[in-house]
């Protein structure tokens, strides 16, 4: 698992939150803050907790979720949706194995670029202090085993998701696959 030579923080930001276009280059890297990368989405509500988990697994030190001001989402509710998902108030939620200290959510309007940069810098210091992230699947599955055993904590959706054969995105999945794995993925 490749770990960057510097701590990387991925920002998942929506198109209408704080305007970072003046400080971001074409590849999505923020010039002022080394290690900070930006991925743009139409709405912060599009963020799947899966994406945050993928970022952590791939070696990111932290993830910043940025949306519009609470109450002013351009698409009405997107920022409240992702906020509720992150806080565990709404399915789907973040897996228990994700280190909650490495996730920060900001709700900033378009003119608040400077506020974003100052919060991002502070967050990068914080995650540097937390040490190297441990994205290795072995560690994750060891932590996941006791978590998985508490089956009654999970919602039916999460149980169904766990029952689904876990395949990574680059292996083609039989489009006819059903949840109980009757026609499993072709490896």
């Amino acid at each position: 698992m490749a770990v960057g030579s510097e701590n990387k923080v991925i920002t998942l930001i929506c198109e209408r939150a704080c305007d970072l276009s003046s400080v971001t280059d074409a590849s999505g890297e923020v010039k002022e803050v080394s290690g900070l990368h930006v991925v743009k989405l139409p709405c912060s509500g599009m963020i799947q907790p899966l994406m945050i988990e993928a970022a952590m697994k791939a070696g990111a030190a932290g993830v910043i979720v940025t949306g519009c001001q609470l109450g002013d989402c351009y698409y009405r509710e997107g920022n409240r949706m992702i906020r509720d998902r992150l806080l565990g108030n709404r399915p789907p939620g973040l897996k228990k194995t994700v280190d909650r200290r490495r996730v920060l959510a900001l709700w900033l309007a378009r003119p608040q670029k400077d506020r974003f940069l100052s919060e991002a810098k502070e967050f990068m210091h914080l995650v540097k202090g937390l040490g190297t992230p441990t994205p290795a699947p072995a560690a994750a599955s060891k932590a996941a085993a006791p978590a998985a055993s508490k089956a009654e904590d999970k919602t039916p959706e999460e149980k169904a998701a766990d029952a689904k054969p876990k395949v990574s995105k680059d292996i083609p999945v039989n489009p006819d696959a059903t949840v109980d794995g009757a026609k499993g993925p072709e490896r």
Binding site: G4, V39, G45, P91
Partner: protein
């Protein structure tokens, strides 16, 4: 996108809101409840109107100016001068109407400036314009009900304006007067219109809200107190009194104008009536058609979300989370493992992707931005040196 709106106006609005957030925080920022403010005033109007209705008498009799004369004007006078708090309730009713027009206009302005009226939001815009016209008309009938000299002038001006309409004019004027001349029937017709139309507003509001999930209709209590307090302070600062009682044998010629509701009468008095109707209808249609270009020739057309039916388990999360009521759960075909499947109504879809964020089964996608691509982009960024 903000590109089609004068950028300066948008920037200014955002700065003002940023300043407001600094003082009262986003939880109490009235700009973020701009649609709920007129809704609050509507409840105030219903309640104060109900209280006034208890004592209002819709007749115009003034043939006998005796001490026991009972008509609309004297009943309003009775409410104002005798009933405890009557003057205050009357003032609240009148100023809540003005406040509702102000808050509706501010609401419409913010919707326009923040670009929330196009494409999938066009029904909200058009119903909003229609609702504004209905509110203006309801307010005008309120001015007729007092039956002072201003009411008489307004009624006569309205009748002459209606008569000018081609084909339907005289018929509508007769409907409006409930006859061919001003009688007691006229005033009870005005009362019926005033109350009936104001409840019809609720139907219009349903249309206005129907394509939004969980519409924000109630400001937080702190804002409600301020809204109510504004009315109470204005009632003290500008007490309301009626003009002289109307006498249909007289022809009064001037009146105090309330610009929020009575501006059409100013227009009527200063231009030819045909020009007046053309201007009124023309401006209304033009404003209603503002979202039209975006429906057919949008700069960035929405590519609606698509459900991957083979992966959908019918968990309903996308349907519950969609902010625009664009996802409906339909019964799954026979033989399916699941009871429900999601379907997207593409003309309601905004392309926001909240459904994508809600789906734990990768069963819904925005065609122009697959979540697998986003995840791949995230991974590439995290892994690169």
């Amino acid at each position: 996108m903000y590109s089609s709106i004068p950028k300066g106006l948008t920037d200014f609005t955002l700065l003002v809101e940023k300043g407001t957030n600094a003082i009262v925080t986003n939880k109490y920022n009235p700009f973020y409840y701009h649609g709920a403010l007129p809704q609050f005033y509507l409840w105030v109007l219903y309640l104060s109107g109900l209280l006034l209705f208890a004592y209002y008498i819709p007749t115009i009799d003034n043939a006998y100016f005796s001490e026991n004369l009972v008509n609309a004007w004297t009943s309003v006078n009775y409410i104002t001068n005798t009933i405890p708090m009557g003057a205050v309730i009357r003032g609240i009713h009148r100023y809540a109407g003005d406040a509702m027009v102000i808050t509706i206009l501010l609401h419409a302005l913010r919707v326009w400036v923040t670009d929330r009226y196009r494409q999938y939001r066009w029904i909200q815009w058009v119903t909003g314009i229609v609702l504004l016209l209905l509110v203006l008309f309801v307010g005008q009938t309120g001015y007729y009900l007092v039956w002072d000299e201003r009411s008489l002038i307004l009624t006569r001006m309205t009748v002459s304006a209606l008569r000018v309409l081609p084909f339907v004019g005289p018929g509508i004027a007769e409907w409006f007067l409930n006859g061919t001349a001003i009688t007691n029937l006229t005033l009870s017709n005005f009362l019926f219109i005033h109350i009936g139309l104001s409840f019809f507003l609720l139907f219009g509001l349903w249309l206005h809200y129907v394509r939004m999930t969980r519409p924000v209709m109630t400001p937080p209590p702190a804002i409600n107190y301020i809204l109510m307090a504004v009315l109470l302070l204005v009632v003290f600062a500008y007490p309301i009194s009626s003009g002289k009682m109307a006498d249909i044998n007289s022809t009064p010629t001037s009146f105090d104008i309330d610009w929020f509701f009575l501006f059409p009468y100013y227009m009527m008095a200063h231009m030819d009536l045909t020009v007046y109707w053309v201007a009124l209808i023309g401006i209304t249609l033009a404003v209603c058609f503002i979202p039209l270009p975006s429906l057919y020739k949008a700069a960035a057309p929405v590519e609606a979300a698509e459900v991957v039916l083979s992966k959908c388990v019918g968990c309903r999360l996308c349907s519950l989370d969609c902010p625009y009521m664009a996802i409906e759960m339909v019964p799954a075909p026979a033989g399916s493992r699941f009871k429900l499947l999601a379907t997207v109504k593409p003309y309601r879809c905004s392309g926001c992707g909240v459904c994508v964020g809600a789906c734990a089964f990768d069963a819904i996608d925005l065609p122009n931005l697959l979540d697998s691509d986003v995840t791949a982009q995230i991974k590439a960024m995290a892994e690169s040196q």
